[in-house]
Amino acid sequence: MPIGYLNVTAVCEGVCTVDEAGPLLNWLNARRVALVDLGEAAQVHTAIVQVLLATNAIISAAPRDPLLCEVLAPALERSKQARPGSLSRQATAPVREPPSDAAADAA
């Protein structure tokens, strides 16, 4: 499974294909705080890059591929600024999802 979903972190590993862009977006949309770990991603499809650029996803570990870093530069920059205390700050951001969602996550 190239993208594994933990409580608040999506871990991308190996080759992430176009088919995974949809689930990732849904997962991101369902969360107020969402981290994406690209540290082990070898190849990431453009559609996923687009999702990462277009959403507020915080990239917790940058990819090793320099091209990917270059292309994701805006998202990485945003993540860097967001990371210190990001969890608490993001948590107080306007709530878009019903609170039950977090409970569902925990379960």
């Binding site: 949309n29 990431v44 453009t46």
Partner: protein
């Protein structure tokens, strides 16, 4: 997809080569006809433009040089001497031969660049000679692959690239002396759905300096984002050469803008002017420093730094000053520094880099070449350089095409792949409709609906007729006149006979006879070989002919006629005929037959021996011809045709080729058999007999089953073993065995049951199954079952 594009290119390129060859042919006699020169130059130019889409540099270079020469002739700066015309024709011949390679192999031969080198050099030498004669240093051809766009003509999207990156690119340009290319790749919104991964493509671009992905349209909110609609634009700076880049992006050429950015264009004024007066003072101060014969660049740098320090970062002049700073830091300070300083003095106009006659004059130098971008070439070259013209567009958009009005009538060009697909589908349809009679029978017999059965049968008749007409219609589309392939013959014969000191006339008849394009293609080479053979060996030298009481000029005639569903081509000469004694001796020497056999041969059979590989006739040179003829026969037979030859000593030789006019029908008749629940087919022409062999009729010899069949020992092969299906069933009673031919041998293929014959369309296996031994492909039977068609050769 690339393949289809290449095929389209080959088709069009072939037309273009023909057009220019035709024009050149007439130009030989009337070298002053400007219309013809124009026709030739536009055809060649279009060809050049289209060729850049592919990785065929030698071809592009050759065409490019040819175009240069023709363009000079067109501009009346060069006289088209017969030498030049010949050279051009030779180059185009080379191109034509490469097109064949491209079509067959999908690539140029490996020695292409070496082969092209002498021709390119010769063409360039003529061009240089003409240029020297005209005392004119400015090239007219232009349009090199990767030619710089003129300064000031860079696309506006360069502004999006951060200044620091632009200046870094400029520094690289200045360091390496090679242009940096800027690519803007805006994948189609549907790119993901089409299986494209734009980032992956971008990743393959070599020597990237910068890669950026930006949103094409502002990002929607996360909830509204459609992850499968591509909304990204990639901007890439790279030092890779233009050719590599066009290759990289040729599939998505219309979504890509590839620009070789002129050095000046990396410096792009932005923001508001802070202090116009200070700018003017700076320019006035620096201009004298630049005007020196050997300017002291340190002084200029100092002045620049000082002014830059006083200027706010966001000011427009600062953008230019930072650029100036980079230019001044280069090992060789570029010639356009003067223009840049002037621009700063004039208030930093946005288009400062665009060539201006007055200011350029002061900064004379190599820049002239760049500034004087050839207007003549601009339309076609830039369109294809930017990668937004398919070969198709290029074909239609040569500037000043005198035939613009006629474009409406231009024949519709269809990619051959589409026709092939249509043909394949129609064949499938033909196979599918065969299910109707079976259904009709079932409706009548099983369900007792005789009305329905009748109606179905009637309907089958209607569908059958329509399918047949469809087949005929699509066959007609693929038909081309024989004249297409005979075009190169007269010239080849003339050139060859001239070098041999012979006089030969070619008489063509029936050139309008039609045949399938693929059939014609398989005929093209054999016909050339036969003609070459006839000129070299058939037609005698003039003195011999005169002595024999024949006319000085030898004649080779070629006649094409339609004979039922076959096309027959007869090539005859009035030369010496085949020296059958020599052929006999040679055949014996080469061990083909023994002496007694040779003596027994009739004249006709002896003559036919020239088709046997390795039989040399007239002399050493003829060895080649001998192998040529063997190749001719092989090629014709491969295409499903026959070759026959008749020869009379002293009177001449006639060779008759007969080929099916259309491709072999795609449906194949197979015998279907069942084994372990699977359906298999064996091509019917290999099946001798199906029979049931009682168990006691089988014998074991050396651990193999054999059977006696028609007084011969036939090995029995169990299909279940060969396909590794399951352990063979213990044989009980009779075993169904199919006797099939494997080459000259027979084998008995033991199966579980016979299912009877069927007409099927065989689809070759691909992907992981392609290498599975023992099968040629799969087919759908009338009942809709999948049947694997066996390659029984593998079972021997």
């Amino acid at each position: 997809m690339t393949h289809a594009l290449l095929e389209q290119f080959v088709t069009e390129a072939r037309d273009l080569v023909t057009q220019s060859c035709d024009a050149l042919g007439v130009l030989e006699s009337t070298p002053d006809d400007a219309e013809l020169v124009h026709a030739a130059v536009s055809a060649v130019r279009t060809l050049k433009g289209a060729s850049k889409l592919f990785e065929i540099a030698p071809l592009t270079r050759l065409v490019h040089e040819s175009e240069d020469l023709l363009a000079m002739a067109h501009a009346a700066r060069l006289e088209l001497t017969p030498d030049i015309v010949n050279l051009l024709r030779a180059s185009l011949d080379q191109v034509a031969s490469w097109l064949r390679d491209l079509e067959i192999e999908g690539a140029l031969p490996e020695d292409a660049s070496e082969k092209a080198a002498p021709q390119i050099a010769a063409l360039a030498a003529f061009a240089a000679g003409a240029q020297a004669a005209a005392g004119d240093g400015s090239g007219d051809g232009g349009g090199d692959p990767g030619a710089l766009s003129g300064p000031g003509s860079a696309p506006a999207w360069l502004d999006h690239i951060p200044e620091a990156d632009r200046l870094a690119a400029l520094a690289t340009c200045l360091d390496t002396g090679a242009p940096v290319h800027a690519i803007r790749y805006a994948p189609d919104a549907q790119a993901f759905a089409d299986g494209e991964d734009p980032l992956h493509r971008v990743g393959k671009v070599p020597h990237r300096l910068l890669t950026r992905a930006t949103a094409a349209a502002p990002w929607p909110t996360a909830a509204e984002l459609d992850p499968f609609v591509c909304n990204l634009i990639f901007e890439i700076l790279t030092t890779a050469d233009h050719e590599t880049l066009t290759t990289q992006f040729r599939d998505v050429a219309h979504q890509t803008d590839i620009v070789a950015v002129a050095e000046e264009d990396w410096i792009r004024p932005a923001g508001d002017l802070a202090d116009a007066a200070a700018c003017a003072t700076f320019a006035a101060d620096v201009a004298p420093l630049l005007a020196k014969a050997a300017p002291d660049w340190d002084d200029v740098r100092e002045a620049t730094d000082a002014f830059l320090a006083r200027t706010p970062d966001a000011a427009r002049e600062a953008t230019l000053l930072r650029g100036l700073r980079v230019a001044l830091s280069a090992d060789t300070v570029p010639h356009w520094v003067g223009a840049l300083v002037t621009a700063i003095g004039e208030g930093c106009p946005l288009n400062w880099a665009a060539p201006r006659p007055t200011s350029e004059a002061s900064a004379a130098g190599p820049g002239d070449l760049l500034g004087a971008a050839p207007a003549d070439d601009g339309d076609t070259a830039s369109a294809s350089d930017r990668g937004d013209a398919s070969p198709h567009d290029a074909q239609r958009s040569p500037a000043g095409n005198p035939h613009t009005g006629a474009e409406q009538d231009a024949p519709l060009r269809i990619d051959e792949a589409h026709i092939d697909r249509m043909t394949a589908l129609i064949d499938e349809l033909a196979a599918a409709k065969n299910a109707l009679p079976a259904l009709a029978r079932r409706a009548g017999k099983v369900h007792g609906w005789s009305d329905m059965s009748h109606a179905l049968k009637e309907h089958h008749g209607v569908v059958d007729r329509i399918v047949r007409e469809l087949q005929e219609a699509v066959t007609a589309v693929r038909m081309r006149p024989v004249g297409d392939i005979l075009r190169p013959v007269p010239r080849m014969v003339r050139d060859l006979s001239a070098t041999l000191g012979k006089e030969v006339e070619v008489v063509v008849s029936g050139e309008e006879t039609l045949a399938d394009r693929t059939v014609l293609e398989s005929l093209a080479d054999p016909i050339l070989h036969i003609f070459r053979n006839a000129v070299v060996h058939g037609i005698e030298p003039v003195d011999v002919r005169v002595a024999a009481g024949k006319p000085d000029v030898g004649t080779i005639h070629i006649a094409a006629v339609q004979d039922g569903d076959r096309i027959v081509i007869e090539i005859g000469d009035d030369g010496a005929g085949i020296d059958t004694d020599r052929v006999r001796t040679c055949a014996v020497e080469s061990g083909l037959i023994d002496g007694a056999g040779a003596a027994d041969l009739t004249e006709k059979d002896a003559a036919a021996l020239v088709f046997a590989a390795g039989v040399a006739t007239a002399d050493r040179a003829a060895e080649r011809a001998g192998s040529d003829l063997a190749a001719v026969r092989r090629e014709i037979v491969e295409a499903g045709g026959t070759v026959s030859l008749s020869s009379e000593r002293g009177k001449g030789t006639r060779i008759r080729l007969s080929l099916p006019m259309t491709r072999r029908p795609a449906t194949t008749r197979v015998m279907t058999v069942e084994c372990a629940g699977n359906l298999y087919g064996v091509p019917m022409d290999l099946v001798h007999e199906t029979l049931r062999i009682p168990t006691n009729g089988l014998h074991k010899v050396a651990n193999r089953d054999i059977a006696l069949w028609r007084d011969a020992v036939v090995p029995i092969v169990r299909l279940s073993d060969r396909m590794a299906l399951r352990p063979p069933l213990p044989a009980e009673g009779d075993e169904p065995v199919m006797m099939v031919a494997v080459g000259t041998e027979r084998i008995g293929l033991a199966v579980d049951a016979f299912h009877g014959p069927a007409n099927v369309v065989i689809t070759p296996l691909d992907g992981v199954l392609a290498d599975v031994p023992g099968s040629i492909g799969t087919a759908l039977t009338d009942e809709g079952r999948v049947c694997i068609v066996l390659d029984v050769k593998e079972f021997a």
